[in-house]
Symmetry: C2
Subunit: 326 residues, 2 copies
């Protein structure tokens, strides 16, 4: 099996590549080749044979055609300009998130020879916009309140139409906020959800820009990679016509997040969170879903953590080597 | 007030132009200028001064810029490749319905000088796809099962994002099936809903390709023009963030349609409907919404007919000069 990851230099992309290299297989088949693509050539899994690296911007003419020239069986399309940047740079967001996605789908359509890959697309709960019912069901409408959410919703619609026409075999995963993101903050407005756990655990202060009562849905990077791996094994029959799925997550308040941190790492660590309200971030976050009901995804076997404590523990295990800076 | 109608040669476009010329005003302001654009130059209202005609394909480079050069205050974007043709010609459907719409929005974005027109976009209940709940509420998700419905859903999302960013003042109207369409059938799979009323009323046989039990939502061309006129008068405050609205219609079965025809025109006319099941059309129609609840649109003052009898009568009045071929 040949696998292409577009957006492989991102946090999820790197963890997915590591997992695939470690597993050596996907959906019951051996992985023969892994192509890792990103706008800057990503690093590959240290110990993996059959790994190629490509520096490629799929929004540029011909780039997508080149990436799929080796006819990968599974394509992970994770590449995106994140929410904050897509909002501040209108043209860049639409060029990469809309035109780039469309260029990939079009390259597949024109590939010929009966080529029909599995395409796993990462969407986002940002396709939903307030006002919300208490629980967002699987059939809640697409009402994004950001350009990023708009572009993801359009990507979902395109993926579904190309799938319906038999051009490819698509599945879109609406990820909840991924938490705890290791490393440096990215330009996503949701970054603080990770910072308030990540920074205190390494002895640094973190800024909390919203109220403790803010509720949101989270899944760990490990769970997100699990979603991506699981999605590749789903059949067309299992998915039916509605190929875009809201992924499960842990719905909790910021207060519950910090309580989990306190339980696991102690008062000293939890005290490193400094409250500094930011009206801009508060306004953006107020438009986000608080609680999603991922009934279809759960029925199809997708699994997230069952508590925020697990999410904190997974970060400590996977990204801190088990070490907490008390 | 300056008004641009893109897609003015279509049935709704022509009736809208006639209505605006007749009314002489829109949203409480006098109409000074009416620009009628279509891929072939449309005919203009007979008696109107200040009417210009343009042959223009908005999917071609520079075409949208030229059309908005005179800075119309209200733009009606009705131009589209219809459902049947968008399904059979993938490239043409995406080029006109997606790229054309985007070209118009981009031309407005780059117009400069604080230009921020009202843009009224005709969407369709084809943005919804089966399986459906018994009643489709305003917050039902976008799950199109045709390329046409996909392109309309994407148009809605783009219109909402450009509106949110203050680039324009958009409102999208999801029209039910317009019935009775005068003139020749177009390439829409829904064409028979009109044929089975229109042809018998002029002494011709009509083919009914689906079962009498098929339920669907309808509004007359007169009601559709009413929606378009009403939409131009709505403020941003009335619309809020969710600018795409499902329009009301008369939900009835084919049996109820033919019964209405019989009541109004008699047995002889109604007997001109010949039943000839067409599996392809039956399959397409099975994926369409049967009953929509247009709660928001009704609250905002949009009005359709209250019975299919009214729809038949309006066709006889508006398109047959009151004459029935008994």
């Amino acid at each position: 099996m040949r696998i292409l990851i577009i957006g492989a230099a991102g946090m999820i992309g790197r963890k997915l590549a590591d997992r695939l290299a470690r597993d050596g297989g996907l959906a019951g088949r051996a992985v023969d080749h892994l192509m890792l693509a990103d706008v800057v050539g990503p690093g590959g899994p240290a110990s993996a044979a059959g790994v190629d690296i490509a520096a490629s911007d799929i929004s540029l003419p011909g780039a997508a055609e080149t990436l799929i020239a080796s006819r990968p069986d599974v394509i992970y399309h994770l590449a995106a300009i994140v929410s904050g940047e897509a909002e501040s740079d209108f043209d860049k967001g639409y060029r990469v998130n809309l035109d780039g996605t469309r260029a990939l789908l079009e390259a597949i359509r024109h590939a010929g020879g009966g080529y029909r890959p599995k395409v796993v697309f990462t969407s986002s709960v940002a396709v939903f916009g307030a006002p919300f019912p208490e629980v967002i069901e699987d059939d809640f409408h697409l009402t994004p309140l950001t350009s990023y959410g708009t572009q993801k919703a359009i990507g979902e619609l395109l993926l579904a139409d190309y799938t319906r026409r038999g051009i490819l075999d698509g599945v879109g995963l609406r990820l909840p906020t991924i938490c705890v993101r290791p490393g440096k903050p990215n330009k996503a407005a949701s970054g603080f959800f990770s910072s308030i756990i990540r920074e205190p655990l390494v002895g640094q202060e973190a800024v909390l820009p919203v109220a403790d009562s803010v509720r949101h849905s989270h899944a760990s990077p490990r769970a997100a990679v699990g979603f991506l791996v699981h999605a590749a094994g789903l059949t067309r029959e299992q998915l039916g016509a509605r190929i875009n799925l809201t992924m499960p997550g842990v719905s909790c308040t910021v207060a519950e997040q910090t309580a989990a941190l306190r339980r696991i790492a102690g008062d000293e660590v939890a005290s490193r969170i400094r409250r500094e309200p930011d009206p801009t971030i508060m306004r953006i976050v107020a438009g986000w879903p608080q609680r999603v009901e991922a009934r279809r995804a759960l029925a199809l076997g997708f699994r997230a953590e069952s508590s925020f404590d697990d999410i904190v523990r997974i970060h400590i295990e996977d990204d801190l080597g088990g070490h907490i800076a008390v």
